[in-house]
Symmetry: C2
Subunit: 480 residues, 2 copies
């Protein structure tokens, strides 16, 4: 499998992505389980690193991890009208268990607001129980028609935060706090620049008052919703009767939030940084940061090179690829496809001169240096690579973000864009948050990704559909 | 909830356990989802610590984490005759998805040997691909009739290792290696002494050639199977056509293993160490190791005590319980029920004399000392407590392990034992590994827990049922 070629990105972006994922030992389609994938070793190791980065930040902001059941009584979903409408078409339903037909079927959680609502009602009585700040790491199932490895799969892994608050103000603070945590991890850890914004009413989470998201741009110019944070208002509080006695002694419904990111982030990571040689991982998320490939031809060289290789690698925390029966060329190829940020080369001539060669995965540039300098040069190279990946992605986002002042202009810019051919843009236009306006974009398969939280892209203007005044331009794009 | 009393252990062990779990913020029954539980914050934090201890050891022994789908085509289970017979009665079946009846239903994984077998067949061609050493952290569902928090729940969290080898010898080595990893974590981390042994043919995993387990004794003398490691032989290799070319160029089926531990371990942890005051956690698995409770009555004391409390706590890595509106007594009670190993008390008089009081959760003994000695005394107390908990549990195991030389004797010893009343023993008797012998024990609801791997409990003898010679005594007990 490792020997297959990778489709060039500009030939077919979708095929390129699939090749990079497979060759990078990240995931493969499960085929026999519709729309599912097997997350392979390199992919799961990246997920573990991402989990740690996120989990540390969740705990630092006062959240505790808990675990709710996978199965939810089907009737629970019906308690919140928008929620059931949004999720019904995607449910997987358990009708038989323990050899018997169930009286009430269970659905496999597509998300857990309903079952969390049920327990919040048991646990919350007074303002003293608030805020209640919980998170769970879990799998969820949504029966999707069109699936893509990592980006959209029937089952996926994620975290879902669920919180309850005494006031709407506190809930909104929480929603934005967690949106910022997501943006920080995307930008500082994944090296993926994102736009923070609010979703339109058409695009919000089913059951939310307001949804916020971070949106990233892939190398084909398509948008990827990389994380969402929802202000649920009192909707689920009402549906599940989650009441508390406030400081004034009155009963009120709690204000809830929920927020989540998933294994989809890994798809976004791959589509942001990888190239025609395969996977590129930012150093902060690379399970293996550096591999040393020893080079020798003759048997008498072997011992000396390997000895030095292990010594140097131990000093700088690199892994030595000392597999027998594999040429150095095959080894370079192997680690390149797996996205290892730095490969070190050490041969007999390097040994004689006390030097070593450092090669960065993203630039491909070989940097020879005295072995004595490696301990400083390796972390510096990793750090520089992390920064460069972010800079390149940010530059791409900037270069492919354009303004438009009419619906005709928006349509013209996005008309020919596909996931395969690319050419996507983030089109910034003034557009009223109004389902009729969202519908106009659907005609050419575009969507409002979000309305940014800041005026970085221009100030107020008139809606290109209704002419009404709006505060700022929305991000319009074709999206995954 | 934190105010309810805990049923004394000797009054009703089962009720005591339930109280300890609830009051310790470990878990609660999900009720509306049959046989499921919600794992609460303290329980999930213990699980995270256990996961880390196990995961580090899995990686150190060369395993990589991956993730297989939750849903398995129903037909997969039928490929291995014993496997389907063993698991069929417990399956949860998805028959509807995306609004349509499925042509072939999926089962929610009760364990993943079948789907792993399917992928091993795709991934393994040659001896060069072996050994394949994988593990997954996942949830599984088994529709159990009688459930108990942590010990037996319809859904539970676990890890399942799956490996493939070129020879049976290597597979058996792996099976024992992982059994030893489990025993090490049970004894060194959980402070739970275990007996390593092989299961009888009647009690082995459905589809295995041979199953090994670690067995622990709870405070009521019942046995708990705390982890299993299976020699699957070539059974799943044959069922899923997992063939490889061996070094001699011939095609052969791979030899597989699987091994798992689950959230059940937390139940075993609780039933081994906790007492009538509630949860007791061994320091190595305590999410919070030490809490400092500041004591003051007058407002002018408050500032000084809190200031000193935070300074001392920061120095020794303890948490300060500085909640307002709670008495010191309520705080002691709170942390006691949550199993925090050490509570520190600091009041105005301690402040004046430069002293502090250290109280261990297991012994309840208060140890006053100069504040300057705390930095050394706290880790020493935690270390001593970890050792003492193990020693006490080991002593209990020793004291409640008895020899028996006839079936009448075995029955007499175990006749009146129940999970509620306790009085359980590990009865060591010579018994042939033969389904007829296991059946005799079923008459009084006992089972062979395992046949130990060593002669620590006597050598060869004659089977108390058939009179045939057997190598050593088996462990017979009532069990969870």
């Amino acid at each position: 499998m490792a020997e297959s070629p990778i489709t060039p990105q500009n030939q077919d972006f979708a095929a390129w992505y699939q090749d990079v994922v497979l060759q990078g030992d990240m995931a493969e389609s499960a085929e026999i389980v519709k729309g599912c994938m097997v997350i392979k070793a390199n992919g799961y190791a990246v997920w573990e690193m991402l989990q740690r980065e996120l989990d540390t930040r969740f705990k630092a902001t006062g959240h505790q991890n808990v675990y709710f059941p996978l199965l939810i009584p089907q009737s629970f979903l019906q308690r919140e009208a928008e929620h059931v409408e949004g999720f019904s078409p995607e449910l997987a339903v358990v009708t038989i268990a323990g050899g018997k037909e169930l009286e009430e079927p269970y659905v496999i959680r597509p998300t857990s607001e309903t079952i969390v609502g049920h327990f919040f009602a048991k646990w919350i009585q007074s303002w003293r129980d608030l805020p209640m700040l919980m998170n769970q790491w879990a799998n969820v199932v949504r029966w999707e028609l069109r699936t893509r490895l990592f980006l959209r799969t029937t089952e996926f892994l994620w975290q879902e935060g669920h919180t309850a608050h005494a006031t709407h103000e506190e809930a909104v603070e929480e929603v934005l706090r967690m949106l910022n945590v997501y943006a920080e991890v995307a930008e500082d850890v994944m090296a993926v620049p994102v736009i923070r914004g609010v979703k339109t009413q058409s695009e919000k989470f089913a059951g939310a008052l307001r949804s916020y998201s971070i949106e990233a741009m892939m190398q084909n110019g398509l948008a990827l919703q990389a994380g969402t944070s929802h202000d649920l208002g009192q909707n689920f509080g009402r549906a599940f009767d989650v009441k508390f006695q406030n400081k004034e002694g009155q009963l009120d419904y709690v204000w809830q939030t929920s927020w989540g990111v998933s294994t989809r982030l890994i798809g976004g990571l791959i589509m942001t940084h990888s190239d025609n040689k395969g996977l590129v991982l930012p150093p902060k998320l690379a399970p293996v940061k550096a591999v040393l490939v020893p080079i020798y031809r003759k048997d008498e060289e072997r011992g000396k090179v390997l000895e030095a290789a292990h010594k140097i690698a131990a000093d700088v925390g690199a892994k030595v690829d000392d597999r027998e029966g594999q040429s150095p060329g095959a080894k370079f190829f192997h680690w390149e496809r797996r996205g290892v940020p730095v490969v070190l080369e050490l041969g007999p001539r390097d040994l004689a001169s006390g030097s070593i060669v450092l090669k960065r995965r993203d630039t491909g540039v070989k940097q020879p240096m005295p072995q004595t300098e490696l301990a400083g040069a390796l972390p510096a190279a990793l750090d520089q690579m992390q920064q460069d990946l972010y800079r390149v992605a940010q530059e791409r986002l900037r270069a492919n973000t354009v303004l438009a002042n009419s619906m005709g202009e928006v349509e013209q810019i996005l008309a020919d864009v596909t996931a395969e051919k690319g050419g996507g843009k983030f089109v910034m236009a003034h557009l009223k948050d109004n389902p009729a306006c969202d519908a106009r974009l659907k005609e050419f398969k575009a969507t409002v990704r979000c309305i940014p939280l800041t005026d970085a892209y221009d100030g107020p203007g008139k809606c290109i559909v209704t002419g009404e005044p709006v505060d700022r331009r929305a991000v319009i794009a074709k999206a995954y």
